[in-house]
């Protein structure tokens, strides 16, 4: 069987707030459409609910106790072991590998190079507008600009008239077009920055979530029997200008209820904004005639707490922080070949089109982990999957501490 191209899409801090995961509030039509032609893993867990450790763990298929990366301050090749990465495995098997946006965690954790040239055939692309992300870009009630958590903007008024995920999608579309007629198979990883904070998003997406329809988390109070060590005090959220103004007590808050509703409104709006970029990407794949030869994987590095247990952000072992979406579209395996001319991923504009309901084609309920992604993507693309690691694997360059989930595509789950 020929080797499939791979389009590997990662969202940042995305919990399973998607229609295809049963969330009735969110509008995520493009990801739901992808899921309807895919296999959906309903119970997928990150190995640590924070960006760099989770991404390094997933992309090397090693657990944090093997990468020894629990913060953002070390690069696995110099700190613990020269572990082969998922894109590196594809590159060494003749693929042209490309990175757009946030795939590896930028900075020390990926050697200030996104692990290029080990992992990528060309230097990783980062959207120029990301450098404004932490600056004062948000117009407050006082008409001045602030570094707010809630930052719905008029995109035309932003520097360059754009936002990071818009730029990343433009670049990914450009790269797809550049590879469309090339016989060399490609592995394109696209990492969106949303719904990570700040919620600097196009203001029109707020209209999908009228504040009077928003509700608090079903369990907004800190549980009485929660050990203090288990609680995450959401320090990054507190640092934003608009949250600081609320003078919230440390560590348990709470955040005023009206502001909780607005945070939840902005998070969902950020998901719909990111969904639209996924839709642009998939419709381009389709228009280029690549949907029949390209496997699409959609996932996230960890979740985000929207007020459950009195917590916000990730940084904990609660399911809302560790559980992530994991969706595999594999032409000819998760979906039958399409009739000529029928499009596979037409773009769906949540802002203008009425809500569409998609049904998942196949779901897996058993527990799976992000360390399973590397062996499974390799095998399903037509490469050899890395072999299981020995108990102590610091000296092993290529092995997996996860499972190859290929068998789940072939048989119906029972039990």
């Amino acid at each position: 069987r020929g080797r499939r191209n791979v389009l590997f899409i990662m969202a940042d801090d995305l919990r399973t707030s998607l229609g295809c995961y049963g969330d009735s509030v969110v509008k995520s039509p493009n990801i739901d459409q992808l899921a309807s032609k895919s296999q959906v893993f309903l119970n997928t867990y990150a190995q640590q609910a924070v960006c760099a450790p989770s991404r390094t763990s997933m992309l090397t298929s090693r657990r944090p106790d093997t990468t020894r990366l629990y913060d953002f301050n070390s690069y696995w090749r110099t700190h613990s072991g020269n572990y082969t990465t998922l894109p590196q495995h594809f590159k060494s098997n003749g693929y042209f590998t490309m990175s757009v946006g946030k795939v590896f965690h930028p900075g020390i954790a990926s050697n200030h190079s996104d692990d290029y040239p080990y992992s990528w055939s060309i230097p990783a692309y980062h959207p120029a507008s990301f450098r404004f992300e932490k600056q004062k870009m948000c117009k407050g009630e006082d008409g001045k600009l602030h570094a707010n958590l809630l930052c719905a903007v008029n995109v035309t008024e932003q520097p360059g008239g754009t936002l990071p995920d818009l730029e990343s999608t433009d670049e990914a579309v450009r790269l797809l077009k550049s590879r469309a007629n090339n016989d060399v198979p490609f592995f394109l990883a696209v990492g969106f920055h949303k719904p990570h904070i700040p919620f600097r998003i196009p203001q029109e997406y707020l209209s999908l979530y009228p504040i009077d329809q928003m509700t608090l988390a079903p369990d907004p109070n800190v549980p009485t029997l929660l050990p203090p060590v288990a609680y995450n005090p959401w320090t990054d959220v507190r640092r934003r200008d608009d949250v600081q103004k609320l003078n919230i007590s440390f560590p348990y808050g709470p955040i005023p209820k009206d502001f909780q509703l607005r945070i939840r409104q902005h998070y969902y709006a950020a998901v719909s904004y990111m969904d639209a970029q996924v839709g642009r990407l998939l419709s381009t794949l389709d228009e280029l005639g690549l949907a029949e030869s390209t496997m699409v994987v959609f996932t996230s590095d960890h979740g985000w707490s929207l007020g459950e247990h009195g917590e916000w952000a990730k940084y904990s072992n609660f399911d809302v922080s560790t559980r992530v979406p994991l969706i595999f579209y594999i032409p000819g395996v998760t979906t039958r070949h399409h009739r000529l001319g029928e499009s596979t991923f037409p773009f769906i504009d949540a802002l203008t089109q009425s809500e569409l309901i998609f049904k998942n084609d196949k779901v897996i309920r058993n527990m799976v982990e992000l360390v399973d992604v590397f062996p499974t993507v390799s095998y399903m693309a037509g490469l050899r999957a890395p072999k299981p690691c020995p108990d102590i694997s610091f000296q092993e360059e290529l092995c997996t501490e996860g499972d190859n989930l290929a068998y789940t595509f072939r048989h119906r789950e029972r039990g």
Binding site: Y45, A230, P251
Partner: protein, 97 residues
Amino acid sequence: VDEEDIAFSQYPRPAETPQENSDLPDLNDIRIMGYSLRSWDYRYTLWLGFNPKTFQVNVSDVHAGELYMLATDPGQDKNLFSDSEHSVMMRKLPSLP
């Protein structure tokens, strides 16, 4: 029948009570590691002593525990962990085959 799989997660902490760097402690400040087992019907977490120099975990140094039965507590709000049951289990573990 598919065997029931377990998902393992973990999270580091600098201290037993929340402080400024609790969310993201630097490696050298990590003193406790919370290890979670998540099956389809429960989540069991132990917060254990951790040495950032040797990367060793001290399984007899239990700072706290969590146990949630998800059929009746899907939001993980009712912690059922009890020190006494845990210490009974730990005493039995070495004698297990």
